[in-house]
Each structure stands twice: as C-alpha cells, then as structure tokens.
C-alpha cells in the first residue's frame, strides 16, 4: 500500500471548485453528473456577480451626470439672477389660482425696485418649483465691484479667486477656473493672499473669518476712494487696492510703504 500510494498523482491545484473539485477524481460512474453541474453553477454565479457590479457602476455614472447637469443649470440660473438683480428688471406678479380673477395690482413702472420686492418674487418662483433650490446673493448690495470666491476648508481659507464682475469664472466645461483678463483682479488677488497669510499668524480661527469678511467688505468703494497718501485715484493704471488693517483706509500698493 505504501509503495502504491506513491504512484497516485497529485490533485490539480488549478481547480476552481477547491475541495468540491475532488469529485472529478471519483471513478465511480454516477447517473448524476455532479461535478460538471457544480462547475456550471460556479461559472454562472461568477457571471451574475460581474453583471451586478457593471449595472451598479452604470447607475452611479448616470446619477453623477444628472447631478452635474443640475449643478450647471443652477449656476446659470444664479448668474441670470445676478444680472437681473443688477438691472432690477420689472417682474410680473403670479396670476395663478384664485388671484387670477381679481384685478391685477398696478406694477411698478420704474426700473428701480426695492430689494424686498425682488426677494418676494424670487421666493414665489422657488415655491412654484419645489425641486429647485434658489440661493440669493447680494455681494455688494445694489452695486457691483468685483467677484471674490473664497474657498475654505472648515475655517481655514484654502484659496481666493478674484474676477471682474462681468467676467466668466469657469470655462465652458464648468470645471476649470478661467484666467482673469483684468489686471486689477490679479492685483487684488495677490493682496488678499498676503492678508490671509498675515491673519493666520496673529488671530484665532474664530476671528479670522470676521476679519477677512470685513477686509473684503471694505472694497465696496474700490473705484470711488482716492489714495489717502497721494490723493489720486490711479497709480500705474490701478486704483488703491490696499486697505489698512485698522482703519480700512485706501492706499495704493506703493503708497502704503
């Protein structure tokens, strides 16, 4: 027996069914082809698992595409609202439902509309479309100076993007920041970056956001404030872009030294 046992071949290690594959070595002829059926079942379950994974990936891709389209559409709506807020265009009242039978109210005939009226109209539009979220922004009240996008991680300021108010921020694919063609925005960006760096050293996180927003708010008179030192509006074609940290007075970049 010991001599004969050495002549028995080793079982194949490439069996997909592991121990169940040893059934193939059974020399007894059986009416039921158990091994081949087991093999078929194993291959079928593998295919099912693979197809399930593919369908899940495809659904995730379709959902992310829809999300991206919804984001692009909401961006366009926001830009349209910014433009219309700048213009204070006249909006028509909602005539749906029972109010349609009543005499319509006299619409304001001037282009200047109070901000509350514009808020009411926009919120009414938002209620008409419950799956649409509208967020209102008034960066500088009814004026428009520059557009500043502050990207933050928690309370830390990661980066700042400054653009002209009538410039496009993104490229057509909606993914890449478009470079500003205005020298003023580039100058403001470098100064804003210096301010954040200086603020990190001296302030706690809770104060940092307040200081940064106050400093940004001081730019509302960017085009109207002359330099406190030289008294002029322009130096090398740029308005006074530096703001004193304590008094928020305007200085040219070279005049502050």
């Amino acid at each position: 027996m010991e001599r004969l046992s050495g002549l028995v071949g080793r079982p194949s290690e490439s069996h997909p069914l592991h121990n169940s594959g040893l059934l193939s070595l059974d020399p007894v002829q059986d009416k039921t082809p158990l091994y081949s059926q087991l093999l078929q079942a194993y291959k079928w379950s593998n295919k099912v698992n693979m197809l399930t994974l593919y369908s899940q990936l495809l659904q995730a891709y379709k959902w992310s595409n829809k999300l991206l389209q919804a984001y692009k559409w909401s961006n366009k709506l926001l830009q349209a609202y910014k433009w219309s807020n700048k213009q204070s265009l006249k909006r028509s009242a909602n005539q749906m439902g029972a109010s349609a039978k009543r005499r319509p109210k006299v619409q304001p005939s001037t282009l200047v509309l109070p901000p509350q009226y514009v808020d009411d109209v926009i919120s009414r539009i938002g209620r008409m479309f419950p799956d649409l979220t509208i967020e209102l922004f008034r960066p500088n009240g009814t004026s428009a100076v520059l557009l500043a996008i502050v990207v933050m991680r928690s309370l830390f300021i990661d980066r700042t993007v400054v653009r002209g108010f009538n410039e496009n921020v993104y490229t057509e694919d909606g993914k890449t920041w478009l470079r500003s063609y205005i020298n003023l925005s580039l100058s403001c960006l470098s100064l804003v970056s210096q301010t954040w760096l200086r603020s990190y050293i001296n302030l706690s996180l809770s104060c940092l956001s307040l200081v940064s927003q106050t400093w940004l708010r001081s730019y509302i008179k960017l085009f109207q404030s002359p330099c406190q030192r030289c008294g002029r509006f322009l130096q090398d074609g740029l308005p006074p872009t530096w703001r004193d940290f304590r008094t928020l007075e305007a200085f040219h970049d070279t005049c502050r030294m």
């Binding site: 282009l111 009538n166 085009f223 074609g237």
Partner: protein, 211 residues
C-alpha cells in the same frame, strides 16, 4: 465690457486733424499704452417715407462697431435701440420702400486702438463724405460696470493724456438711476457715438478735405 465714455477732442490750434491725432497717440505711448490694432464705427441714416400724420418723422440710424462685428444696431435718437445680426442691413435694403438711405449722410470713425492696464482707448478720425470733421476718443474702463462709481477715476485718466478738454459725465449715464448699468451690448456706447456724429454733422469744417 466695462464703462465706456466717448468724447470729442478739439483740433490743436494751427494743426491739421491728422497732426492732432498723432499728438494724442504720442501722449498715450508716453504714458505706457500699447497699440492693439485698429477700430471703426460707422453710421448710416434712413429717412422714413410715406409720413401720413404730417409730424416730423424720426430718422433711423443703423450703426456698426468693429468691437461687435457680427452685430448691427438700429436706433432712433433718444428712442429705442434694436440690436440685430449683420443680416439687418439686407433687411433694410428690402424695406427701401419704407426707409430711404441718405448715403451722403454716412459718417465713419476710424483709428487706432490702445490698451493701458485695464483701460481701452480708441482714438479715431470722424469723416463724412471723405471730409474729416473731427477727432473722437473712446475710453473704456473694463473692470467696472457701474458708470457713477468709476467716473472720477476715468476722468482722472483722461486728463492725463487729453489735458483740460475732458467732458462731464455723459448724458446717457446721467439719465440712468443710480447704481444701474446697461448690459454689455454697447447700446450706451453707440448712443454716445450717435450724439457725437450728429454734433459734428452740424458743424462746418471749411477746407478740411484731409482724410
């Protein structure tokens, strides 16, 4: 597009129109402006025909600007403005039974375009029937969209190369409510050009057939 101001520059005493334009070019280059090609603006006048009511009819002006080469503007003086594509000119030909083109009244402004920091400056010679009528300067401040906010800043820049001959706030901006600005379709710019062209058309320039 930013806030644009169009004004007329008087011809220097003892100099021709071209010499005065060259003086302005030189001052801009001394300031540090860089030349960026050329520009043109033109204006054609159309008389409406078949006026039944007997009241003086308003003239229709069709204007073109090299900044918007695919657009064409039709406007009445002090009235509404239409912005259309270049096919509007063809439409006006089709409407010749209703609007007669006064070809002798066509006004053109051609010149050079300069860029200084965020300012765009266009210095042009206004001509009518091959006769130079005056000099126009258009200054655009690109970052700002509200005219009332940057007027002092723009005026200071214009004084740096035009001297004392700087106008007050253009009437097209003075008539607007505070804080509003027309969209970037150059309607206000073309209205200013139209006012300038009409003013120069009424002036007489004896012995100035230099182009």
């Amino acid at each position: 597009m930013g806030v644009t101001c169009v004004c007329q520059v008087p011809v220097a005493e003892g100099k021709s129109v071209q010499q005065s334009v060259d003086i302005v070019h030189k001052k801009l280059e001394q300031l540090g402006a860089v030349k960026q090609g050329s520009f043109w603006v033109d204006c054609e006048t159309y008389h409406p025909t078949g006026n039944v009511s007997g009241q003086p009819s308003k003239l229709l002006y069709v204007m073109h600007n090299s900044e918007t080469p695919l657009s064409c503007m039709g406007l009445f003086e002090g009235g509404p403005c239409l912005i259309a594509d270049a096919n509007f000119d063809v439409l006006m030909v089709k409407l010749k039974s209703h609007f007669q083109n006064a070809k002798a009244h066509k006004v053109e402004c051609r010149g050079s375009r300069y860029r200084y920091c965020d300012f765009l400056i266009k210095v042009g010679t206004v001509t009518m029937s091959s006769s130079a009528r005056g000099i126009s300067v258009e200054v655009e401040y690109c970052p700002c969209v509200v005219p009332g906010e940057c007027w002092n800043l723009t005026k200071e820049f214009m004084q740096s190369f035009l001297g004392p001959s700087v106008p007050e706030l253009p009437s097209v901006f003075a008539a607007k409510p505070e804080g509003l600005f027309a969209p970037s379709d150059c309607v206000d710019t073309m209205t200013q050009y139209l006012e300038l062209f009409n003013k120069l058309r009424k002036m007489q320039m004896p012995g100035s057939n230099v182009r």
